[in-house]
Amino acid sequence: MSTPVLVRPATVASMFLATVERDGDRLALVERERRLTWDELAAEATAVAGALHARGVTPGDGVAVVLGNDEAFVSSFLGVQLAGAMAVPLNPQFNVEELARHLAVAPVTGIVAAPATAARFTDRDLASWVATPSELSGTPSAGPPVEPDPAAPALLAFSSGSTGTPKGMIRSNANLTAEADHFTATVGITGDDVFLAVVALFHAHGLGNALLASLRSGAPLVTGPFERDATLAAIRDERVTIFPAVPFIFRTLAETRRATRHDLASLRLCISAGAPLDQETAVRFAERFGVPIRQLYGCSEAGSVTIDLAPDTRRGSVGRPMRGIDVTIVDDTGAPVAAGTTGEITFRSAALTAGYVGSDATDASPFADAWFRTGDLGHVDAAGDLFITGRTKLFISTSGYKVDPFEVEAVLLDQPGVAEVVVVGTPDERGEEVVKAVVVPDRADLDEDALRTALVDACRARLAPFKVPRIVELRAEIPRSPLGKILRKYLV
């Protein structure tokens, strides 16, 4: 049976092709009724690469992949890699304005999108072409061979910026193959494992801890959207062993009455990332299904960084560094602190991006001395386990997505009747954060209901659904400290 090889492949394409060579007739991908072997997936990806070449894509070009969790995402992502180009995965829930904002940071040659998504932006000049996956299939040849170059860009990822604009970063082929090695070696993935990705493949968690790990190890990938019945059936029927998800998904399964221990009996590793896992969900899930949820800590800049594999998962730790990664906690001056002392989490990793692109390219401060400053606060205990205790950044984690409050504030401030606005995350009954906007109207005699409706409508027109405030609270003023700092804790 296949196991990860020791020599690191030069590129994502060569990592994929090595697995195809080794495991060609074994199962690679399952999406609903579609089942592809590695050979069949290679044929699909080769056809995409050929079609991209025919459309003028050359090595180094960016190609946006605006697709959900399906076979088309995987074959498009791999086709881009085989063409030597750079994949720019974007959320298919984005509306045209959000797509335009992202593509302004990272111009692309073309866009691959499902027909319904493509129809939303065909009248906008976002790229020189827009194609659906079926328009990129059926090409018999891959185009000219591409010289494997570890330094070549493979992925342009985005994280929420602190200025209301998306923050883009290029990850090289070497970054992504290192990430795949760190993860598969640390958790011991073999070709006998089966991944289930119902978390978005266009995000770091799904891409790194499911797709790249599958490509590296030859373990098949089962994918689709998160739907309780379909997800439970997939775990049971496909004998899924590795399940990367987010707290929302684990919480929903733990609360779903008809989910049985039998359904989840094949799982050996449940990995939670994207937001802190609450203790109640962790305990309830482990008690009901007999498998603990492991917390993983990672970021768009480098993929996964630490994972908790200790026997006792009840301590709330995100565990220890993945193989090949060093973590250090530092104080305000950048000096390492003693065990147990809280400071900023920094790490160094071969998977780390070289820096940001676009207007954020000048922001080199997080990358000083090869140690990346995450902006997250935490401490390492005497045993070496990392605990995250806070964020120096202000992102809101909702339904597995990160929302940049400044992006929502920028939309609201554009609306008539708004003098001031602060957007925060507030916990709902299950501890899930929801987006809340606290708005100071510019005059007292406004119709409050009409203003609330207008503000939500404006957000719906310009933002993806998960960013639209669930709560709009009107206040006479925003609470501030004597130094003028917004006191967010009084707004939650």
């Binding site: 739907e227 309780r228 019945d229 379909a230 929302f248 929903t252 609360e255 779903t256 009455r257 008809r258 909702t398 339904s399 597995g400 507030t426 709902d428 009954e429 299950r430 899930e432 929801v434 987006v435 809340k436 609330r452 939500v456 409508d457 957000c459 719906r460 659904p465 998960f466 639209v468 405030p469 669930r470 709560i471 709009v472």
Partner: protein, 84 residues
């Protein structure tokens, strides 16, 4: 509104307020699309789990459609059909 139905309507409104933090649920237009309140698919799943617990029913994912869950009125009608 029928007494029993009015009671169910009030309980579903209370769930929307408590579980999804929807503003002023008691004043919500029963025919207004929940999407317009910022209720996304994750929020809807949250509500479905709560309805299962509250009314002791299993709701199949194939039943989670716009027809059954698109508005407050639709949800109340669906639960009334399913609840014992």
């Amino acid at each position: 509104m029928h007494g029993e139905h009015a009671d169910m309507d009030a309980r579903v409104r209370a769930l929307l307020g408590r579980r999804l933090k929807v503003d002023a649920p008691e004043r919500l237009d029963g025919a207004a699309p929940l999407r317009d309140l910022g209720v996304d698919s994750a929020g809807l799943m949250n509500l479905v789990v709560a309805l299962e617990e509250t009314y002791d029913i299993d709701i199949a994912d194939r039943d989670i459609t716009v027809e059954n869950f698109g508005t407050l009125d639709a949800i109340t009608g669906y639960v009334a059909r399913r609840a014992p």
